[in-house]
Amino acid sequence: MPVQGIRTVAAARNGVGAFILPCKRMDFHYCDWAGSSRGMVSFLKSALPSFAKANPQIEIRVSPRPHKHPVIKGHYINGREKAICVRNLEPEQIFKKANLLKEASGEKLKRTKKPVTSINDSVRGIWSPYHGDIKTV
């Protein structure tokens, strides 16, 4: 069997051609009885229909979670999920949290110092001491 080189597969770079929103699903959990869910229940009644209509690319699930605090969970295309507890929050605050989950990338939060991440080869090549003309000091 002949030796085969490792084939390079094009890495997915979301947004270069097509763009898919990283947040693919959002779960809204609430409790009918508990007072910490009061804002969540009113958010689900008033604001969630327009939020879902404005974001047709996100699957929205609403389910009760009795005797527990209300939670919003976002599921992302990289397989991770983010959960935010929204106990005792007002509907406007919950809307902000839902927007945060919508815009997030799903990655774990990291402190990065370099603004640019690139997987391209260096455009100008790597410097070599053995090539080019002799520089005088």
Partner: protein, 256 residues
Amino acid sequence: MFARSVLRKALALPFEQTPSSTTLFRATLSTTTSTSTSTSPNPESPLSASPRAQFNNPTHQQHQPPVTPSSAASTPASTPYTTPQTSSHIPTHKQPLAPTFEAPLKVTSSLLELLPHLTAQRAHYITAHVHAKPYLVTAGDHLRLPFLMANVQPGDVIRLNRASVIGSRDFTLKGKPYIDERMFECRARVVGVDSEPMRYKEKTKRRQRHVRTIKSKERYTMLRIMDVKVKTKEELVQEGAVVVEGQDQATLEVKS
């Protein structure tokens, strides 16, 4: 300063761009704004009456982010969920403002001589400036701006119009200090908003036993560079560039 110097929404989506899902939802929103204001140059069919009735409910609209209706794009009423592919699908009053220039672009003949070498050598890099900070990027790069950009949504395409250096492997086009924005195209897509982990800082005063802990958590806008393109000599001439002699605003250098 921000609008003047740095960024401008892309004037047109290129044809080969695959429709984004975010523009999809903005397309649905836009039918409401265009019908409710009724200033659209091309009036919608009577089908648009039903979304108007739905969206004008004030309880629904108060939670809408303020950005979306202004930057939304309209679609024909027969296909309410199609994505705008080109600028012709977007009504004129919603298209971003084209920059106005007093004078045509002036290039020297010496630069025009060398320019085909730069445009022909693929893989360009660009040093784009955003808020006076330089970012050396190539097409496909991921750029995390050190601030949260206002009035953008994930999926938006913006155009970086201030650059100091554009180059390929052997050629470099340098601006003095910036290259005229009519000589290149650099588009970036807003991918989303990222944030850093919570930062704790302990504040102390001398001879006081009290220690105050402050928290901060910054948010950053993330961009994906879609393309870096230097306009060819023919495109420059076609767009009305004037060939002059003498000192130029930009110089093209060859790697020694």
